[in-house]
Symmetry: C2
Subunit: 298 residues, 2 copies
C-alpha cells in the first residue's frame, strides 16, 4: 500500500459541520452571541443511522420544517442540499450505526430578545457512533420510569432546544435510579417522556399513546410505530392515559429515534405487568424496525 493510500484510509477524527464548514469535532464552536446559546432560539432533530443510512429522514425533515415555521424561521437551503450535507457528515465520520444530531439556530446577532428576518440561520451537524449491543441489552432488560409534574411551556409540539425542564426531569429520574421521566399534567394524565413518547398496553392488548394534538412532541418513531402497528393489525388508540392507568397497564414502553421501542418494566417503583418486557412492545419494535428500514431503502 502506498503512503498516500494509507493516509486516505487512516481513521479520521470525528467531524462536525458548522455553518458551512466541516471541522474536527473537538474544535467545532459557535460564537458566544449565537442566539441558540443566549436564547434557546433554535430547533433540532436527532436521526438514527443504521447501516450508514439515515432512518426516517423524510418525517424528521418534515418536523424540522414545521418547528422552524412555528418560530418564524426557514430552512436556509433546499431539503435536497441539506440531505446531501447530512450524508456527507455520515460519510466523513464513517458512521454505520449511530446518531446524526442536527441543530439550527437563528444565528449570531448582538443580544436582543427580538428576532428579525435579517438574521442568518446557523446549521450544526454532529455524528456519533453507538454501541447497538448496549441498546439491545437495555431493550431485553427493560427500563424503569419515574413520573414528575409537567411544568413545561404550552408549545411542546415544537422541537426546540429550550430543554431545561427536560434536563431537570431526566436528571431527577437518573438520581432516582430510572432511565426516563414521564411528565404528568395537572389532570393526572401522562403527556410524554423527557426525550421519548410514552405508551401503555391495556388489558385488551390495545397499545395506547397520547394524541399529538395535545401539547406533546409529534414523535417520528411514535408515528412510524403507529403506522407499522396499524398495517400489522395491532390495536392502537391515540388518547391520553392517566398515571394510575399506567400503573395498572399490562405493558408500557417508550419510543424515540435513539432507542426505538423500549420496554418499561417499572413506573415509580411499581412493576408493570409481570415486570418483564412485554410481547406488544417486542412485536412493535420488530414492526417499527422493518418499516423504518423499508422506508430508508433507496
Amino acid at each position: 500500500m502506498t503512503v498516500r493510500a494509507k493516509a486516505r484510509r487512516a481513521p479520521p477524527g470525528r467531524v462536525a459541520y458548522v455553518d458551512g464548514r466541516y471541522l474536527l469535532h473537538g474544535m467545532a464552536s459557535v460564537h458566544i452571541e449565537d442566539r441558540g446559546l443566549q436564547f434557546a432560539d433554535s430547533v433540532y432533530e436527532v436521526f438514527f443511522v443504521s447501516d450508514g443510512k439515515l432512518m426516517d429522514e423524510a418525517p424528521h425533515l418534515d418536523r424540522l420544517e414545521r418547528s422552524l415555521d412555528a418560530i418564524g424561521m426557514k430552512l436556509p437551503m433546499t431539503r435536497k442540499a441539506l440531505g446531501l450535507i447530512m450524508q456527507e457528515v455520515v460519510r466523513r465520520n464513517r458512521l454505520t450505526t449511530g446518531f446524526l444530531y442536527l441543530q439550527m439556530t437563528r444565528g449570531v446577532a448582538p443580544r436582543d430578545h427580538a428576532a428579525t428576518d435579517a438574521m442568518r440561520p446557523l446549521l450544526i451537524l454532529t455524528a456519533k457512533p453507538v454501541n447497538s449491543q448496549a441498546i439491545e441489552t437495555r431493550r431485553a432488560a427493560g427500563v424503569a420510569v419515574v413520573t414528575t409534574d409537567d411544568i413545561r411551556w404550552g408549545r411542546c409540539d415544537i422541537k426546540t432546544t429550550a430543554l431545561l425542564p427536560n434536563v431537570l426531569a431526566k436528571t431527577e429520574a437518573r438520581k432516582r435510579g430510572a432511565y426516563e421521566a414521564w411528565f404528568v399534567d395537572r389532570d393526572g394524565m401522562v403527556t410524554e417522556g423527557s426525550s421519548t413518547n410514552a405508551w401503555i398496553v391495556d388489558g385488551n392488548g390495545v397499545a395506547i399513546t397520547r394524541s399529538i394534538s395535545d401539547n406533546i412532541l409529534p414523535g417520528v418513531t411514535r408515528r412510524v410505530a403507529l403506522d407499522a402497528a396499524t398495517a400489522a393489525g395491532v390495536k392502537i388508540e391515540e388518547r391520553a392515559f392517566s398515571r394510575d392507568e399506567a400503573y395498572g397497564a399490562r405493558e408500557a414502553f417508550l419510543t424515540s429515534a435513539t432507542g426505538g421501542v423500549m420496554p418499561v418494566i417499572r413506573i415509580d417503583g411499581k412493576s408493570i405487568g409481570d415486570g418483564e418486557p412485554g410481547p406488544v412492545a417486542t412485536r412493535l419494535q420488530a414492526l417499527y424496525r422493518a418499516l423504518s428500514a423499508a422506508n430508508a431503502a433507496p
Copy 2:
C-alpha cells in the same frame, strides 16, 4: 508620546471572558456541545454599568446563586473572585455606561439530557456600551406594550436562557409596533414582560406590581425600585393585576436593569392615563437611580 505609550492608549477591541480567558469579542466562542447551546442548561444575569461601576451587583449575584441552586449548579468560584473578573471585563472594555452580560452554562459534555455533578460550569462575560441618551429619549417619550398569552413554563422565577417563549413574544411585540410584550395568564392577570417587570398605578396613586411568589422573575430593578419607593413614602402594593385593570390604569411602566423605570403610554393600542409618561413613573426612576447609585458607592 512614545510608541509604547500610544499602544497602551490605543482603543482596545471589545473583550469577552470565556471559561478563564479574556478574548477578542469577535473571536469568543463555545464548543458546539456546550449544554447552554444544546439544552438551554444555563442561567444568566445582566448588570447595568454606570460610571464604570456595576449597579445592584449584590442582588444580581444573590439571584444568580439562587438560579444556579434551582437547577442544581454552584458558582465555580467565590463571589469575590467572580466580582474581580467582572470588574476586569468592565476595565478591559473601558466601559463607563453600558451592560455586563453574564452567562453560566453547565459546561461542555457529550450530549445527554441528564446532568451530572462531574460537569464543569462555563462562565461567559461580555460588555457592551450603550447610548444612555437614547434610553433617556425613550423614557421621555414612553413606550407601547402589547399583551400576549403566557404559555411559559412553571419556573419563571429561575433566570434561565430557555428564553424562546420570550423571544417569540418580543418579536411579535416589535412586529405590532410595540417595545415590549406583557404576558397574561389564563386568569387574565398580567404576569410580567418578556424581559421586564410590569407595573401600573391605580386611581389612588398606588404603584402595583405582581408578587414574586407567583411564577415571575424576582426582578432586581423591581426590588430596588420597591425599596426606594417605600423609603420615599410612595404607596405600593405587590399583587396581581388584570389586563383590564391595566387598560384603565392612571399610569403604567416597566422595570429592568437595562431600562430602569420605563413609562408605558399605550397597551394594546389603548392610551394609558393621558397617554404621556406619568409622575409616579418619573419619580420612581429618580428614586431608583439614587438608591442604586448609593448602593454602588464604595
